[in-house]
């Protein structure tokens, strides 16, 4: 590969490594080899050195080879912002029903996020066995519960923070602090995309607003901006996508022709300048994206059956909007967008009002949120399955942490609990109708096969054919990774 085929960023990487190589550090030599030779890239199994994606500036998002054969070609993350209670949905705890109203042993002095807790309280939602597997799931999500046989539950997830912002940061970027690249950005950095006229990474915010950690969820952090997620949903298109009304089609064509003329003139004086030609290419790509993004967002050609299945015409406006977002997610995945984040729940607009933060009146609020979420999400899963997309699409449902088995003192809701909660997956590469790990008998703390967010991220990258220890980017003294210095692939859930 020629150096000048690399982007500016890629060239810099190479340069820096060349200097290190001059300095005689072994690490650098390995990295360079990995960068330059595919053999080196595939061979060494024990090698933990970074594998640099080969990024061409004319097409920085062109599809790149993974480290090994992937199970998943694309990922859908469904994120319920606000900490959706595992104890009222997926994690069945008969002991919690038995000890309803009794104190949790050893919890007298427990001070959680909002302070003191009262007694154990069973879920207001009834748990029933579902599907052929008989998995107990509550009535909170009746339609999703019917999909139990498709799901692979991780009941022993743990988070590092018990406050929303940092915890949502961790779930999407691996770090509790602001400013780190999100997993979608890492995926598009490593793999590019097979769909060349849509963004590689799309975030679909809830109709009520952006999630609590806002754009951190789809930030490119210190990675080049080209890997940043593009945020839009069925109601709010990509900013500046459409040709302004003032510009006629003919004017647009003439503008582009003239621009091409100017840029080519300049390029004649700067032959082989990859950045200048990359910018010319980016205008061509933008034009393609204008057409394709408008097409993907146009739901009018979906059949009435499909629209009804999702709930697009529902009288509940929030639900109908979220349903359109679900449909948009399917259409994006269908067109091979690499990474899609679908959000349910928004920033705080009153405690538990816009999201799943059920501190004081959990049932009252969940009775509002669950119907918005349940049918459209279940329809999305069914639709993905029906179209065969689950064969090579990984779906991950998550939230930032769980909630306490007790109600808060003097309240009818549950406080934050990062010590144990549930995440589920379905689709490419994971077991079906399977449950992994467990919390204790009250659902307070993960005790069996304790899993971290690093492990979850390592697993997602693994299913994409990436070694999480080798996808890295040098920033301020450190080879930064999605999984920091942690993470192990959760072998137990792999199909």
């Amino acid at each position: 590969m020629r150096q000048d085929e690399l982007s500016h960023a890629g060239r810099r990487l190479l340069d820096r490594r060349s200097f290190l190589q001059h300095a005689g550090t072994g690490l650098a030599g390995i990295a360079l080899t990995a960068l330059l030779s595919k053999q080196g890239l595939l061979a060494a199994e024990k090698d933990h050195s970074p594998i640099r994606p080969q990024i061409r500036s004319q097409a920085p998002l062109a599809a790149r080879l993974p480290h090994f054969a992937p199970k998943a070609k694309r990922v859908l993350v469904i994120f319920c912002s606000g900490a959706c209670s595992h104890l009222d949905s997926w994690d069945y705890k008969p002991e919690l029903i038995k000890f309803d109203g009794k104190p949790m042993p050893g919890s007298e002095k427990l001070i959680t996020f909002q302070g003191e807790n009262g007694n154990l309280v069973k879920s207001p939602y009834t748990f029933k066995p579902r599907g052929q597997s008989g998995k107990y799931i509550s009535d909170l999500f009746p339609q999703l519960a019917e999909m139990a046989d498709e799901m692979c539950f991780i009941h022993s997830m743990t988070a590092k923070s018990n406050t929303h912002g940092p915890a949502e940061n961790q779930m999407s970027t691996g770090f509790t602090l602001d400013g780190f690249p999100s997993m979608g950005a890492w995926a598009s950095y490593a793999l590019g995309t097979e769909c060349d006229d849509l963004p590689a990474f799309v975030a679909i915010p809830d109709p009520r607003g952006v999630p609590q950690a806002g754009p951190n969820h789809w930030s490119s952090g210190f990675l080049p901006a080209v890997f940043q997620g593009t945020a839009f949903n069925a109601d709010k298109p990509i900013p500046n996508l459409a040709r302004p009304a003032k510009i006629s089609e003919q004017a647009e064509r003439s503008t582009r022709d003239f621009l091409k003329f100017l840029n080519n003139k300049r390029l004649e004086q700067y032959p082989e300048d990859s950045e200048l030609s990359a910018r010319i290419a980016s205008y061509e790509l933008a034009a393609k994206m204008q057409l394709r993004a408008a097409e993907v967002s146009d739901l009018s050609h979906e059949s009435e059956f499909i629209r009804e299945m999702y709930g697009v015409n529902d009288a509940n406006k929030t639900k109908a909007s979220y349903a359109r977002n679900c449909l948009l997610a399917r259409r994006l995945l269908e067109r091979d967008v690499r990474f899609v984040q679908l959000f349910n729940g928004s920033y705080a607009m009153g405690e538990g009002v816009g999201n799943w933060d059920g501190h004081k009146k959990l049932k009252e609020q969940y009775d509002i949120h669950a119907p918005v979420f349940d049918q459209p999400t279940a329809a999305l899963l069914r639709d993905l399955k029906g179209r065969g997309l689950l064969e090579d699409t990984l779906v991950v449902w998550t939230t930032e942490f769980g909630r306490m088995p007790m109600f808060q003192k003097g309240a009818s809701g549950r406080d934050h609990n990062p010590k144990g909660f549930t995440v589920w997956m379905t689709g490419a590469g994971v077991k079906r109708a399977f449950s992994y790990g467990a919390t204790d008998s009250f659902g307070y703390e993960a005790v069996e096969n304790i899993t971290t967010i690093y492990d979850l991220h390592a697993t997602i990258l693994h299913l994409l054919g990436l070694d999480h220890e080798r996808v890295s980017f040098y920033h301020n003294g450190i080879e930064r990774r999605l999984t920091d210095v942690h993470g192990q692939v959760i072998q137990g859930i792999l199909a």
Binding site: R279, S282, Q290, A348
Partner: protein, 957 residues
């Protein structure tokens, strides 16, 4: 035989289960046993084993992967003396003097099933095991104490050596160099058989230099004058003019603000704005324009409060701050440690180019920075809190004195008014003929009663306006002459309470009678809606007045006690009610002045009351006025407590106490102790940073300057000069520049002058296929590498071209987001812009993590982490933004209007004007023809929109 056996907890049994069982049977680990046949151990070596020479390399190669700084399998860590000798889950592994009994030797010899070590990689050779045995038998000498690092080869790293003045290289093409920079550059080019490019044409040069130094394009007139200026020093004059421009500071401040992660909101989910953070930005602009010596610049940013530059310490607290607080102690500690981490890591990366932040959990893996160093620096900042403090402007002292004077005057009036307060009435069940007293208010309430003897006074709250009740000060006055507040702790009184709000620095029981007002020195009950607080005097007093309030400073009005009872006693248990809310009007009901004070007033008394009330009201307004002094988000400073080293960075695992200080292995020693006043710690650290003995400081700064002139630093990792950073492309040049920097009195402008006057800087940017083959990236500087404008100069340049740029300097910024009052800030981009948003982009009120819809896509840093170097990516979204955003559409319209204004109705003249404004050159005849065709077929607006998207406009050549 039994002495040859040793008992192990078998790994196969499952360590977790084993510990669980251990817990059940009382803490003793008595699991299944395994035995070792010591006769199978390889013999100990006969030589004297040296830890550094012989032992550490074995550990490094075979053990540290699982038992080192990152992982401690089995809770065993082998790279730190203390833990290595102490052992892990299974107890001690090294028994000094007894290698045959040391489990470590058993494991590495493969004699314990399931505990064969190393678990990964090759087994140790008999020779290696022999060395280990000899080392243990000889006493397991470990030369270094815990918390220090193996320095050795690390210290020989180039960046840790003092800069040496290099000889100016001799070059073959002796006529080319204009100053020593050129000699260094040319020497390297010649070594690589490369030649420098010819000088750039003057029009391109002035455009390059203008963007570079002031971040704005030259006007067509400036270009014309410069091109025509035949004087020998025309370029020098241009350089001086631009360096003297106030816009220079605006351009270069932006670079600095990237390095220090400055933003004007808190980050995290609330992302609340910091409306008073902008004075820091103004400080940077002023300091750069004034060419403050860099040493002074450093001192002020770390300790400006001690030298009359309050805003400068905005540096320390420029990072994110999680304002979501919780009674959960673990979370609170974690948040505080994250805040301090940001201060430590940013200080080190900014001024030293060192990643000290990496030593939070363990000794630095590459550089000679110990974990103790990290916590020594943390101790320097341990007294810094996020928040605003007064910005001491010139009239600050005067305003403060006026406020205090007026407060005293008001206190006198209040006392006089108390004489008019009706007595509290204690008739049972509210059966009273007297009119009700005024309702409670948050500022100040007076309870007057007939003199009564009291040793104890109890204030019991039965209901509040909301939440847990708060009282900022409870004052109890003695009756008669020389009345004084006998409740003060300084008068010997002690306070007790039903309970106090947990885990708060500002709400404490001792604040109830400390003589200081305001929410920041108040007591809050631990229970919602109730609680009591009691004052006990050292002796019995006759008292006749009690004064209390929620917040005398009138900033808070919540948490007000609305239903309360005050009782006194001369001995415990014999309580007597002396006042209550019973005879007050209900909280929130209106208050009528006449009715609220004593009812039976003479005409004169009524006049006096009204006069006093009016004076008091005026005085209150004046106090407020004098107290409204500007503040700045530049940190609050308090004397800190003790700092400890935290094992693995975990705030719950405190280890030894750490003295504040700088990095042990660099520069001079700092003379700090655990009792050094807070500000002196920061000042001492700053002095250490700028000490000429410190090898990093000058190099790091000249490299930053170089980077922004050429697009790439001599060291391409500008905030990491450590072993993991990049090597300099021209080490001698870097040293030469660092020494010149010091010699110039640390003048940043002198460095600019030196660099931009070099022939290296003035080379053409045209490519050259031959040179490209050798050095495509242009690291050896055989040409000036073209580069895209960053977001800010791009937006400024568009405004400049359209003629709409507002040059107003300084002060609060402009907002690109719609106003929003939700309690977590919601950021929606403004749809339309007006003159208010036409200032230079450095004055955009910059929220953290939230990028502008149009220019954010141009690699604008989000200030979540530091951005010592920006990416420069090319994306279709950039194209869409620049084509379709309401900003471009609007500005293209303004540009069209301007062209008509400047050039009249002649389309050809308009085209010429546009090329001069945007590209700083004349159009070719072909370009004119094509432009005219576009204008004719479409319109001038369409032409303008296209021109604003041209590569030639977006790039500096």
């Amino acid at each position: 035989m039994s002495s040859n056996l040793r008992t192990y907890s078998a790994k196969a049994f499952g360590l977790g289960l084993c510990l669980l069982l251990a817990g059940l049977i009382g803490g003793e680990v008595t699991c299944v046993a395994a035995s070792v046949d010591k006769s199978k151990l390889p013999p100990a070596a006969t030589k004297a084993a040296d830890f550094i020479q012989d032992i550490q390399p074995i550990f490094e190669k075979s053990c540290y992967g699982c038992h080192g700084p990152e992982k401690q399998k089995g809770k065993y860590r082998l790279d730190v003396r203390e833990t290595a000798l102490k052992g892990g889950d299974t107890g001690p592994n090294i028994i000094a003097g007894k290698s045959a009994d040391s489990p470590l030797i058993h494991y590495v010899s493969g004699l314990v099933e399931d505990m064969k070590m190393p678990a990964k990689g090759d087994a140790l050779t008999a020779e290696q095991i022999g060395l280990l045995r000899a080392w243990i038998d000889q006493g397991a000498q470990w030369p270094e104490a815990s918390g220090t690092v193996a320095v050795g080869s690390k210290k020989s790293h180039w960046a840790f050596q003092p800069p040496k003045r290099p000889a100016i290289p001799t070059v073959a093409n002796g006529r080319w160099p204009r100053n020593p920079i050129d000699s260094f550059i040319l020497a390297k080019l010649e070594q690589n058989e490369l030649r420098p490019s010819p000088p750039v044409d003057k029009a391109t040069l002035i455009r390059r230099l203008s963007f570079d130094l002031i971040g704005l394009p030259p006007t067509p007139e400036e270009v014309g004058q410069f091109v025509k200026d035949r004087r020998a020093d025309a370029y020098e004059r241009l350089v001086e003019r631009l360096l003297d421009s106030p816009h220079y500071g605006e351009r270069w401040a932006r670079h600095w603000l990237d390095v220090v992660r400055f933003a004007e909101s808190n980050g995290f989910e609330t992302n609340t704005p910091r409306p008073n953070a902008w004075p820091y930005r103004d400080y940077i602009i002023r300091a750069l324009n004034a060419d403050k010596p860099y040493t002074q610049f450093v001192l002020e940013q770390l300790a400006g409060d001690a030298m009359g530059e309050d805003a400068a310490t905005g540096f320390i607290v420029g990072g994110p701050w999680d304002e979501v607080k919780s009674p959960d102690v673990n979370l609170t500690l974690q948040q505080r440690n994250d805040e301090l981490h940001d201060m430590v890591a940013t200080t080190a990366s900014t001024f030293l180019g060192l990643t000290v932040g990496c030593a939070r959990c363990h000794n630095h893996k590459f550089d000679p920075i110990s974990q103790t160093d990290y916590y020594a620096m943390q101790a320097v900042f341990a007294g810094v809190q996020h928040g605003e403090r007064p910005l001491r402007t010139k009239d600050y002292e005067q305003r403060k004195q006026e406020a205090e004077k007026m407060e005293q005057f008001l206190a006198g009036l209040d006392e006089k008014l108390e004489g008019f307060e009706p007595l509290a009435c204690m008739t049972v069940n509210g059966q009273t003929n007297l009119p009700l007293r005024a309702p409670v208010n948050a500022r100040r309430n007076v309870e007057r009663f007939a003199p009564v003897s009291a040793k104890l006074v109890r204030f019991t709250i039965l209901a509040t306006s909301n939440l847990e009740p708060c009282i900022d000060e409870l004052e109890i006055f003695s009756a008669g002459e020389n009345s004084r507040n006998v409740a003060l702790a300084t008068n010997g009184a002690t306070a007790t309470a039903s309970g106090t709000y947990p885990n708060s620095d500002i709400h404490k029981l001792e604040h109830i009678n400390d003589g200081r007002y305001g929410n920041g020195r108040s007591w809050i009950s631990s229970e919602i809606g109730k609680g009591w607080v009691q004052i006990e005097f050292p002796q019995t007093y006759s008292i006749d007045r009690i004064v209390w309030g929620r917040d005398r400073e009138q900033k808070y009005s919540d948490r007000l006690a609305t239903n309360y009872v005050i009782e006194v006693a001369t001995e415990p248990g014999k309580w007597q009610v002396i006042a209550s809310s019973q005879d007050r009007k209900p909280y929130g009901s209106g208050s009528k002045i006449e009715a609220d004070y004593a009812q039976t007033l003479s005409a004169n008394e009524t006049v006096e009351l009204h006069s006093l009330l009016q004076q008091a009201e005026e005085a209150r307004q004046k106090v407020k006025q004098w107290n409204t002094r500007p503040t700045v988000y530049a940190g609050m400073f308090l004397q800190p407590g003790v700092t400890f080293r935290l094992y693995r960075g975990d705030p719950l695992q405190k280890r030894e106490q750490v003295t504040p200080g700088a990095l042990e292995e660099f520069g001079p020693k700092t003379e700090l102790t655990v009792t050094t006043p807070e500000w002196q710690r920061r000042l001492a650290l700053a002095r250490w940073v700028i000490d000429p003995q410190n090898p990093m400081t000058a190099r790091v700064m000249v490299n930053r300057i170089w980077q922004h002139h050429f697009g790439e630093g001599l060291v391409s990792t500008p905030s990491d000069f450590g072993l993991n950073g990049a090597r300099p492309s021209h080490p001698e040049l870097l040293d030469w520049l660092a020494l010149e920097f010091q010699k110039s009195g640390w003048s940043i402008k002198a460095m600019h002058r030196l660099i931009v006057l070099s022939n290296t800087y003035q080379q053409s940017s045209r490519p050259n296929a031959e040179s490209s083959r050798v050095d495509a990236a242009g690291r050896l500087l055989w040409r000036f590498t073209p580069r895209r404008l960053e977001a800010e100069p791009l937006r400024d340049a568009i405004l400049s071209a359209s003629g709409k740029l507002d040059f107003k300097m300084g002060g609060p910024g402009f907002d690109l987001f719609e106003p929003n009052n939700n309690y977590v800030r919601v950021y929606n981009s403004k749809k339309e812009f007006g003159p208010g948003e036409f200032r230079r982009m450095i004055y955009q009120t910059k929220p953290r993590m939230q990028l502008d819809d149009t220019f954010g896509a141009f690699d604008c840093p989000d200030a979540g982490q530091i951005a010592p170097r920006r990416n420069s990516s090319t994306t279709p979204l950039q194209a869409l933004n620049l084509l379709n955003s309401s900003f471009t559409m609007q500005q293209a319209g303004f540009l069209a209007e301007r062209l008509q204004r400047d050039a009249g109705a002649d389309a050809k003249a308009q085209v010429r004007r546009a090329f001069r404004l945007l590209f700083a050159r004349e159009p070719s005849s072909e370009e004119i023809t094509r432009s005219l065709k576009l204008i004719k077929e479409q319109d001038l607006f369409t032409f303008c929109r296209a021109m604003l998207n041209a590569n030639e406009f977006l790039y500096v050549f």
